[in-house]
């Protein structure tokens, strides 16, 4: 059983979570060319390395972020959404 630590519910079986994929920067709708829209829609981070992803704890419907290694599958840390804004 693999554990994921939810910032609200603590360590839980990863089965209880749903992954929503890598965080993407939101394009400015007024200043984005078609090409960049298609990039935003269809290209998500897939490099071998560490990715920041949205996850949801399904029973409590709590959304948060996790840093995970796409090769070793190690979960480096999890954190609440507001911290993402602080990082940017």
């Amino acid at each position: 059983m693999k554990l994921l630590t939810c910032p609200m519910n603590g360590p839980r079986n990863i089965d209880e979570f749903q992954c929503f994929g890598p965080v993407r920067a939101r394009p400015d709708p007024n200043a984005t060319a078609d090409r960049d829209w298609s990039r935003h829609l269809f290209r998500a981070e897939n490099r071998k390395g560490i990715v920041v992803e949205w996850w949801r704890h399904v029973p409590s419907n709590y959304f948060f972020l996790a840093e995970r290694d796409l090769v070793s599958n190690e979960i480096i840390r999890t954190f609440d959404a507001p911290q993402l804004r602080d990082r940017a």
Binding site: M1, K2, D15, Q18, C19, G21, P22, D34, R35, S38, L41, F42, R43, A44, N46, R47, K48, V51, E53, R68, L70, V71, S72, N73
Partner: protein, 413 residues
């Protein structure tokens, strides 16, 4: 007896013959360099040598032949997709499989026993009607069957009448079948090497020398190789390899898992797949029941398996065929799949003039091994993309012309 065997073994009348020669020295240059010695790369090499007379070809494989997804796949071959472009392409693929053993002079054990996909909801039935009509329109054998039809095709199935997963009907695809995956790869490899194609195992491409809009050479662990044309056919590593050439493909990598049971007497005579249960089963010619299903729930570059996924597959299989509950598992494994946003492959040109893509095969590319090799060889030989491949161009994501095959792919591959 041992003496006679020895005499036979040492006799000049029965020389030892391997299917493919040992890896030769790398030459400084080839007309065509194919990256990836899976079914797709080998099929392209065969078609280049046999039909286009291009024999200065090197297939560079970082591990051993077919060790990627080719020999990990569950070998479903079918053309019951939903877009006209998709059906036309996969139909040609099925037709090539029908004659593949003759083409390769190698028994690929193609067994066209039909595929039955099950519907447990009215919504699925509606989508089956659409797929059946599209399939008939495109000239494939695809039809909707009712409950009685399902029971006739698959008498041992648990219909779950009145239950939450009652089978309401199915999509019957008489063209569907399976083939032996190793044989497909080895058959192509044997034919290609007989015509002069060099197959280099344990040769990993580690970089591209790009000058202007052309690839001058690839660098490998065994040295530099200059190339006229280059094909990327590296399965689960397609994103990674294309990135080395500066191309970011719309691909995400997910593991896909499968497993087989111990051998049983023949009882399952068609391929069976359930959309709602995310499970499909087929009995191999050895009697083992091959069980597969949906992808892992999150991205990963790993061929590790999980108990969660195996339990899920077992649950689906036992629901459909309750008598499987005491049967033991013999093997289980996973492969890394290169998933595209629309569940269709990326074929044809790349932003570099002499670099070609045979990528984005995700969970469904084995059935296309012959047709992708044939059509990519044509593309490389003629320097232009044939009509049948045009809809699969990388640019479709920029022009928003996606080929959505998600519903026709999800649980069946």
């Amino acid at each position: 007896m041992p003496l006679r065997l020895l005499k036979y073994g040492l006799s000049r009348d029965y020389p030892v013959s391997g299917d493919i020669p040992a890896t030769p020295e790398l030459k400084p240059a080839y007309d065509v360099v194919i990256i990836g010695g899976g079914g797709h790369g080998l099929s392209c090499a065969h078609h280049l040598a046999k039909y286009h007379g291009i024999r200065s070809v090197a297939v560079l494989e970082k591990g051993y032949l077919a060790g990627g997804n080719t020999a990990r796949n569950t070998t479903t071959i079918r053309s019951n997709y939903i877009t006209p472009e998709g059906i036309a392409f996969y139909k040609e693929g099925v037709e090539l499989f029908e004659r593949l053993s003759q083409e390769l002079d190698f028994n690929v054990m193609f067994s066209q026993r039909g595929q039955l996909t099950l519907a447990h909801t009215e919504a699925t039935m509606r989508s089956f009607h659409l797929r059946a009509e599209m399939g008939k329109h495109m000239g494939t054998r695809t039809e909707v069957v009712d409950q009685k039809g399902v029971e006739e095709l698959c008498p041992l199935i648990n219909m779950d009448y009145g239950g939450p997963l009652e089978i309401l009907g199915g999509l019957w695809h008489a063209d569907g079948g399976t083939a032996r995956h190793d044989a497909v790869a080895w058959g192509y490899a044997a034919q290609a090497s007989r015509r002069g194609v060099e197959i280099h195992q344990r040769t990993e491409v580690q970089g591209f020398e790009v000058v202007g809009d052309r690839v001058q050479a690839v660098t490998t662990n065994r040295g530099r190789v200059a190339c006229g044309q280059v094909l990327i056919a590296t399965g689960g590593m397609n994103y990674d390899v294309a990135l080395m050439a500066g191309i970011e493909l719309p691909i995400r990598c997910y593991p896909l898992q499968a497993m087989v049971t111990q051998p049983l007497k023949p009882w399952l005579h068609t391929l069976v797949s359930s959309v709602s249960l995310h499970t499909y089963l087929v009995q191999s010619s050895r009697g083992e029941v091959v069980i597969g299903g949906g992808s892992d729930p999150y991205q990963l570059y790993s061929t590790r398996s999980t108990l969660d996924m195996k339990e899920h597959l077992a649950e689906g299989a036992v629901h459909l065929f309750p008598f499987l509950q005491g049967v033991r598992l013999l093997r289980q494994w996973a492969g890394i799949t290169d998933m595209t946003p629309d569940y269709s492959p990326i074929l044809g040109a790349s932003p570099l003039a002499n670099l070609w893509l045979d990528c984005g095969w995700g969970t469904w590319g084995f059935k296309a091994t012959p047709v992708a090799g044939k059509r990519m060889a044509q593309t490389i030989a003629e320097g232009r993309v044939p009509d049948i491949l045009k809809p699969f161009a990388l640019e479709r994501f920029e022009t928003f012309r996606l080929l959505n095959e998600m519903g026709a792919t999800a649980a069946s591959h």
